[in-house]
């Protein structure tokens, strides 16, 4: 009896110790993730795109422009509290897109200098003083507005910084993707990390604008033997579909739900005042159309920057206008065809995906009145005075990018598409509450010049972002 009890106790002890020596890791449970629906769809809005998404205007990024970027306005209409939709805010004078003569300085945005009656760079910043301009540089996570001026469709997936972008030297990649701190995450990866329930995606513009604003758009045929500067439509189609699928799959894999994506298509270049019909340019430059000699004799479109060129080179004496300031018939057709192809590809990509919806920005901009809403500020100003001009046009001084009111129009376009597609009832931005100050605080003064001039430096700033 005693012996057996000892054995029994011994066995019990051995058993207890044996089970105790190694604790096994417990099994898994699984968290389920619900597909956002109803109001939850709008819980986490993130925007990706290029300069148009960044709120770029007057040839640069600046706080006062970013305040009315269309993503910010959409977020506000969705009910996001002020400051919660974080953007890469830049203090005045902002950051323009080109190197100045002195490489130690960076241009700020353009402004309308009322005293001179011309467009000029607001101010410039020594390169060592640029970082303090970036007011939200220490924001710990990717920005809610990931729009990078200059970004192409390829950059969306591949660019980590300026050196790996298709526009080497474009510091906006460094300022907005911040991979000197973050390590190495593309716009796509940063978007996925944020886990957006809804995102806006407006890319592809620079795939054609780079070529168009160079004055020498080339698909390898129009200027055979020279570098191609337009993304071929077949490649565009493939990259566009892949970008949408990478967003959807990436968010699904990491966060367990599919985001809603609203895309905008590519506006025709004829909708924007930067590309001027020859007659209009003649009027703006004060040179009779018959005297406007061009290197490209069949030039159909003159780039706005030609005004700066004329001013710097003595007006009539500078003619004929070099080929880089005009689009020939063939060039204009090439650009138009390319935009059409892109938009067909975008429509097809949207149609093939249940979580992707289209805002037809091209149609909306094409419907603008070229003599008022889509007229360049300086062209209007010479007729109606600068204050009225500023309150009329929807485009900023660079002639390509909308101004504050123009971006409000874009925001309303997206919001309309959301309301129509998702059954929401987001209020529109009241355009009467949004204004654009082309003088950037320097004022209109008392002199109201009717001459239309652009400084050469300003002209360089205007187009550099696309190169």
């Amino acid at each position: 009896m005693r012996k057996s009890l000892i054995i029994l106790l011994g066995a019990a002890l051995a058993g207890l110790l044996a089970t105790g020596c190694d604790l096994e890791a417990p099994g898994h449970s699984t968290l389920s993730v619900e597909q956002p629906s109803g109001a939850a769809v709008f819980g986490n809005y993130v925007a990706v795109g290029n300069s148009l998404t960044a709120g770029f205007m007057d040839s640069g990024l600046i706080l006062t422009g970013q305040a009315t970027s269309y993503p910010q306005l959409i977020a506000t209409q969705m009910g996001y509290p002020a400051g919660s939709f974080m953007q890469p805010l830049l203090a005045p004078p902002g950051l323009g897109s080109t190197a100045l003569t002195n490489p130690m300085y960076r241009a700020g945005v353009l402004h309308y200098d009322a005293m001179a009656g011309s467009i000029a760079v607001l101010d410039s910043t020594h390169i060592t003083e640029i970082q303090p301009l970036a007011l939200a540089a220490s924001w710990p996570v990717p920005y809610s507005n990931l729009g990078v001026p200059g970004a192409t469709l390829k950059d969306f997936a591949d660019a980590l910084d300026s050196s790996t972008s298709q526009s080497p030297g474009n510091a906006f990649f460094d300022l907005i993707l911040r991979n000197s701190v973050f390590g190495g995450y593309s716009m796509l990866e940063q978007l996925i990390a944020r886990g957006p329930t809804i995102c806006t995606f407006w890319l592809g513009n620079n795939d054609v604008l780079g070529g168009a604003t160079s004055g020498q758009p080339n698909d390898g045929v129009v200027h055979a033997g020279e570098a191609v500067n337009l993304t071929p439509p077949s490649l565009f189609t493939a990259m566009y579909g892949a970008a949408l699928d990478n967003i959807t799959n990436g968010v699904m894999e990491r966060h367990g739900f599919a985001p809603v994506i609203f895309v905008a298509n590519i506006p025709s270049i004829t909708s924007v005042p930067f590309f001027m019909p020859k007659a209009l340019f003649a009027q703006a430059s004060g040179i009779p159309e018959g005297m406007l000699a061009m290197e490209e004799s069949d030039a159909q479109i003159v780039l706005f920057t030609a005004l700066g060129y004329l001013r710097a080179h003595g007006g009539l004496a500078a003619l004929p206008l070099p080929a880089e300031y005009t689009l020939s018939v063939a060039e204009a057709q090439l650009v138009a065809n390319t935009v059409t192809s892109y938009n067909s590809a975008i429509a097809a990509a949207v149609g093939a995906r249940s979580n992707v919806f289209l805002y037809d920005a091209n149609a909306e901009l094409a419907a603008l009145d070229p003599m008022t809403e889509a007229a360049h500020f300086l062209v209007l100003a010479s007729a109606v005075g600068p204050q009225t001009a500023a309150a009329t046009t929807l485009f900023s001084l660079d002639g390509v990018h909308p101004n504050n009111r123009g971006y409000a129009r874009v925001a309303n376009g997206f919001l309309n598409a959301m309301n129509a597609q998702l059954g929401t009832d987001f209020p529109m931005v009241d355009l009467a509450t949004v204004s654009w100050d082309p003088t950037h605080g320097t004022g209109y003064g008392t002199i109201s010049s009717t001459t239309v001039t652009v400084s050469e430096r300003a002209a360089a700033t205007m187009s550099a972002v696309f190169r």
């Binding site: 005693r2 009890l5 000892i6 106790l9 019990a12 002890l13 207890l16 110790l17 089970t19 105790g20 604790l23 096994e24 890791a25 417990p26 099994g27 898994h28 449970s29 699984t30 968290l31 389920s32 993730v33 220490s138 710990p140 996570v141 990717p142 993707l177 911040r178 991979n179 701190v181 973050f182 390590g183 190495g184 995450y185 990866e189 940063q190 990390a193 944020r194 886990g195 699904m252 894999e253 990491r254 966060h255 367990g256 739900f257």
Partner: protein
């Protein structure tokens, strides 16, 4: 004497930070012999540990004795996180630690019917330290928590009748608490959760006095009934401190410095009240044969007093209210002892210990669950005066997940890791009893 006592308390506090061994963070293991019997000792209580288990038992003892017990506790916990959508999951385990829980008792009989006892033991404690703290999934709640509570209990036991004894005494509690956690922040292009502030919260309580009482009735030659009661405590911690250390990466260091400065600096004073439940044991022991004895105890804890832990700092922005919402529980304890010889006694026990902790407050601070404990032990009487006791108890926790129907059940779902905890503890005990 006063100095010695203080030293003893300090040493005990140092050691007594044990893992939670009985439901919640109660430690019912106050002596090797009782532990060997699964803690079913309230109706036996025939050594110094009676001062905890039932001081009335002292009244039936004679002479004076010293009972010194050391109960090294070796806890272990593992965590397996729920699958995230991308198929990844967190995991973690506690570092190897052992906590020698004290059970130091002295009693002396003044006259035939009156016995005085003094005990030092640690009925509440907690020590959960997770390895790889910087990466531990639950670090925003806790990566290292220590709670040590030592009771010093002077008590008198009266034999009011030949077969009936009662006791009355005081539980004087000393407590120290320390909690370490990280404030985390998503950072970088991949939104990695990084540590920005290391927060250490610590404090100790003023000595706290509450009554305790016991009764033991020898109902028949074979049947003994016992009951003991230790009143609940509200330990006021007045000297609490929170120390904030900036551990952010260089890119955020300045911003975090600003946050800490904005809070009013790196050090803050605070107060809290720690609620400890009462312990009520109702027990019956039966002498089966001359050699064999069984005991069954039902132990009640009003854990509902531990509803929340409110940390009140001089800067209200740092105030925290940690929801606990514990529930009252009964434990079942059964023990058997068998005299193998006049010198040698073998013991075994079983405990069914239902957790007072709702799943919502299961966390890295204390991942509790229902337990089944089994114990064995041997007592060897070297002489009429000297006894050695050895015990071992295995505390087997039921694996418990805070994920139900795919959703995390937590009072703090933002920072509480979702997943399954599994724990166990091995409690070794040695006791030396010496009768004067």
């Amino acid at each position: 004497m006063r100095g010695t006592l203080r030293w003893t308390i300090t040493v005990c506090l140092l050691f007594a930070a044990g893992t939670a061994l009985a439901g919640g963070f109660n430690i019912y293991e106050a002596g090797a012999r009782a532990t060997a019997m699964g803690g079913a000792f309230t109706a036996t209580a025939d050594d110094g540990s009676a001062i905890f288990y039932n001081p009335a038992g002292l009244a039936f003892l004679e002479g004076s004795a010293l009972d010194l017990n050391l109960m090294p506790v070796v806890p272990a916990a593992k965590f397996t996180g729920a699958y995230a959508p991308d198929g990844t999951f967190a995991s973690g385990e506690t570092v190897d630690q052992s906590f020698p829980i004290p059970g130091l008792y002295y009693y002396t009989t003044f006259e035939e019917n009156l016995t005085f006892g003094l005990g030092v033991y640690a009925p509440f404690g907690l020590g959960v330290e997770w390895s790889d703290p910087e990466a531990w999934a639950g670090r925003a709640l806790s990566y290292d928590v220590d709670l040590a509570t030592v009771y010093v209990s002077p008590t008198f036991a009266w034999k009011v009748h030949e077969d009936v004894a009662v006791s009355f005494g005081l539980d004087i509690a000393f407590s120290e608490i320390e909690l370490n956690r990280f404030r985390t922040q998503p950072f970088g292009g991949n939104m990695d959760e990084i540590n920005v502030i290391d927060a250490k919260i610590s404090g100790s309580c003023e000595p706290n006095f509450t009554p305790q009482a016991g009764v033991m009735i020898r109902a028949t030659d074979r049947l003994t009934l016992g009951a003991m009661f230790h009143q609940q405590k509200d330990l006021a911690i007045q000297d609490g401190k929170m120390e904030l250390t900036n551990v952010a990466p260089a890119a955020l260091e300045g911003a975090v410095d600003g946050i800490i400065a904005g809070l009013g600096g790196a050090e803050h004073d605070g107060t809290t009240v720690l609620h400890l439940p009462h312990m009520l044991s109702l027990a019956a022991a039966y002498q089966l044969t001359d050699a064999a004895r069984v005991e069954v105890d039902f132990v009640h804890f009003n854990w509902s007093t531990f509803d929340k832990l409110v940390l009140d700092f001089n800067n209200p922005m740092l105030d925290q209210s940690i929801e606990e919402q514990y529930e009252d529980v009964w434990q079942f304890r059964a023990g058997l002892s068998y005299d193998l010889s006049p010198e040698l006694t073998a013991m075994a026990g079983y405990v069914r210990d239902n957790t007072p902790q709702p799943v919502e407050s299961m966390s890295p601070l204390l991942p509790d669950s229902d337990r089944n404990d089994a114990s064995v032990g041997l007592a060897y009487r070297v002489s009429d005066r000297l006894t050695f006791t050895g015990s071992y108890m295995a505390v087997i926790f039921k694996a418990r997940s805070n994920v139900e129907n795919g959703e995390i059940q937590s009072f703090d779902p933002e920072i509480s890791p979702a997943g399954t905890y599994d724990s166990r503890a091995d409690i070794f005990g040695i006791g030396i009893g010496y009768k004067f």
